[in-house]
Amino acid sequence: MIVGRVVATELKPATPHQFHFWTANETSIGIGAIVKVEGSGVGDQVSGRVVYGVVTDAFAYSDLATPLHDVVGAEGDPERAAAAPTVRQEIRLWTAAVLRQIPEEPLQPVPLAQVHVATDADVAQALRMDGYLAGAHPTGIPVGLYTSGGLEAPVYLDADFLLGPEAAHLNISGVSGLATKTSAVEVLLASIFQHFPTHKGRVAAVCFNVKGPDLCFLDQAGTLDDADRRRYERLGLAPQPFERVRYFAPFKADGVNLNTLRTHGDLVGDVEPLVWGLRDVLDYAEVLLNRDDIDAKADAFIDFLSDRVVGKEFDDGFGGSHAVTTFADLDRLFRAIFDGLELAGRSDMWRTHHIATMRKVRNRLGNISTRCKGLVTDDGPSNDLPWGRFEDRTVYVVDVANVDPLGQDLVFARVVSKLREHLERRDLGVEAVVVFVDELNKYAPADGPDTYVKKMLLDISERGRYLGLVLFGAEQFRSQVHRRVVGNAGTIVFGRMDADELATPGYQVLSPATKIKLATLPIGELMVRHPHFTQPIFVRFPRPAVLRGRDGVERFPPAADLPFEDAVVRQLVRLEPRTRPNQVKDLIADRVPEDVRRALARTRQVRPADPFAYFRKLLGTRVAPTEAAMREAVPPLNPIADEPY
């Protein structure tokens, strides 16, 4: 359908990258619309050239020479102006940026020809999607619908450029609440799971739930209306929740109640505890240390502990032998060393490490189990993501929404590092993993010191695509995220943006009209930049087919924290439904809670055929703590004999 015609003047010429066209006053064209310039073949300067463009700006004006003339005509009365017998001639003039020219060489100015509304096929051509939607190994991943003038044309991303190896990573930004960042990622993940090309192998996703119940109900069906279902159909997506979702959450400080909003009785059984021990944490101690603490000496001592001490039989040099596997073991070692140094009175150095450095490291490591109580176990077995056994098309949700920020950093750093290690060794179980991180500005801020997490995110951004480790990051303000992290994202998605954010230099390439559209973008609409698209494209996506977090907590209200005994019962019942609660309560009635926690953790880890029997056996044998070493009286190093008091 012809909607307009290209015009060019000396002041506003048509160029190879931009052109102007006019339309009737009443038109379906708007900012973001895709148009095709193609001559009728009669009298047009076309020569078979077809140009696709996207509307980036719009102008309207009349033949009024100056505003004063309108005042004169109306004799100063606006009502009279509206009642003028003739409506002035007006123009709707549009500016479009070229998306594609066919043929592409020689690159020439856009011909002054007719402008047509784009069809489905035109949209595919304009966005160069024809290159990856056809052929023996199509790699299209539906991302949304291009909607303009009643058209609903699917827009696809290229999996090779979204998930590697050509390019990778996705960054999505927009104001909270209206930008639908989480919803967009949920739809895109569903799309990836349903359309990830088989020749590219298996794919999984690890999502960090960092706020509220956002990602806690991905396996539950949400409410969709007819328009959503139609959009799903146009996108070729099944409107259904994720089939395989595994939830991980640390415990609360009590060590038995899970620290998540997914604690409703019907759902909590799916949530696996996330518990890490010393060995799991020590490699990431840098994350946990104060930034001021990080120095070469502390670093060297931590490396020493990691390489020479933890998990090995270790002689402290004062006659003691230590098998350090837990924080408690480590603390005993520290005490032995300090006591030994004091008793020996020989120096402040122990194996080239200064006692002050050791005290600092001891203090910081000791704090970990306090600050991250529930996530880090002082003593006892850990429970982790299924490294090496990741399953195809499975979402692994790690809920750290209520975890101390330090703990969030630790979880994030360790999970991503482990993913990287396994992907490098090709033994994760899948070939590609999408890691979704919200509030990216917190983990990789544009300014501030270089933290372990930031460095790790930079590393993923720059090298992840070769490994299949793909970062989907979301944040409110893109300008507040490290340039290299967003710069390495092959695909960039924008939801509704704040005007102040749009005024920052990163958005200078956008036209004022596009900025206005971004600032007023309705829920469910996004602007997408992708390596194949030479200009940003606006797309609309359906509501996710999963239960939204807010709806989820209404339908499945979180259960109140259970008393210690009940929480233990619940966990054993989960392992074996025939477990009798009273039996469990009787068993643990006179036990030290720490013993119970350790036994429970071990039972959960081993998953024996008869959990209760195993649990009872562990308790009976007093699995846990070694008695704290008796502290011998230590004489002062410099007794002041004359001190009268």
Binding site: A65, D70, V72, G73, A84, P85, T86, V87, Q89
Partner: protein
């Protein structure tokens, strides 16, 4: 056709030229005293329009024409002129937006055939373009030839306008009025039609003398004169006419905002003169700036002219570089 016939005569030996003389200022009104007979009042009087409800037809059609011409070659000293004349009618309905309902255009070659060399003469005739000749007496001196050519082009435009207006008048609906830019009295059909108005912006013709002339030319804004009957002159038909002042003339000149209106010579015209005038007064907005005649050029007429100009051949528009020496020619 456009430039193809020009190429043909140039190829036949005419010397190419690119000269756009000062274009016609439009239709020339009479520039002599003709006199008028009173119709409405015994002598010319002034009628206020303040409280008069304007006529509000269901639709109004506006007609105007344009002419563009240019010397494209010389056969000896005789200019060969390429001319374009066009006219259009645009209808303004209830949505207040004018839309073209009729239009016509002609391309002409204006010259003196017997003054051209035989090859050029033959080439011109063979090109198929309509050739209009000016008088043999005007063929010698180029300045006179150009004046004669201008008259021929104007005549062609008037003929086109008249033909289009008559077609349009014949098809006018019961609630439609046709407003023509210029006089009605050249056409029997138009001058007798009950819903046709002629709006004349130039005031070369003098119908009154003395106090009546002063009354006509110092008419206050928002007023009209009595209806009068211009005396017949030549082929002109019986018509009713009156003056309307759209804008105050004080501080400008006597003719500022002054229109002369022509309508059918009929008692009904006299009865409607005030309502018709009030309608025209309403047409002051929107103003038709930046046209220098905006004080008396009705916007819908200006709109027709804009439409025709936009559709005229672009190579007939004078351009600043055209007088520079043609290095390559």
């Amino acid at each position: 056709m456009s430039a193809s016939w020009v190429d043909a005569v140039i190829a036949a030996g005419a010397v190419p030229a690119a000269y756009v003389p000062e274009a016609s200022a439009g239709r020339a009104d009479l520039e002599e005293f003709t006199g008028a007979d009173p119709v409405e009042d015994p002598e010319l009087r002034v009628h206020p329009l303040g409280e008069v409800p304007p006529l509000a037809p269901g639709a109004a059609l506006f007609l105007d024409g344009i002419e563009r011409w240019r010397v494209v070659g010389y056969g000896g000293v005789t200019p060969i002129i390429r001319a374009h004349v066009a006219a259009a009618v645009r209808r303004r309905g209830q949505d207040r937006r004018p839309r073209t309902v009729r239009e016509a255009a002609r391309e002409l070659a204006v010259t003196r055939l017997d003054a051209l060399a035989p090859p050029v003469h033959d080439a011109l005739l063979a090109a198929g373009v309509a050739v209009v000749e000016f008088a043999a007496d005007d063929a010698g001196q180029p300045a006179r030839a150009l004046q004669a050519a201008r008259r021929e082009v104007e005549r062609a435009r008037l003929a086109l306008e008249q033909a289009l207006a008559e077609q349009c008048a014949a098809a006018l609906g019961a609630d439609e009025w046709l407003v023509v830019d210029g006089v009605l009295s050249d056409s029997a059909v138009l001058s007798e039609h009950p819903r046709t108005l002629g709006v004349i912006k130039s005031h070369g013709a003098q119908f009154f003398e003395g106090l009546e002339l002063e009354r006509a030319l110092t008419l206050p804004a928002g007023h009209r004169t009595s209806v009068f009957r211009p005396r017949r002159r030549g082929a002109r038909r019986d018509i009713h006419s009156w003056y309307v002042r759209l804008w105050p003339w004080e501080g400008n000149d006597l003719l500022y905002g002054l229109l002369r209106v022509e309508a059918r010579a009929d008692p009904a015209t006299v009865a409607q003169a005030s309502r018709l005038s009030a309608w025209l007064e309403r047409e002051r907005a929107p103003v038709s700036t930046p046209d220098p005649r905006w004080d008396r050029l009705l916007y819908p007429i200006h709109d027709v002219e804009t439409y025709l100009r936009a559709r005229a051949p672009r190579d007939l528009i004078p351009y600043s570089a055209s007088r520079l020496p043609r290095i390559a020619s």
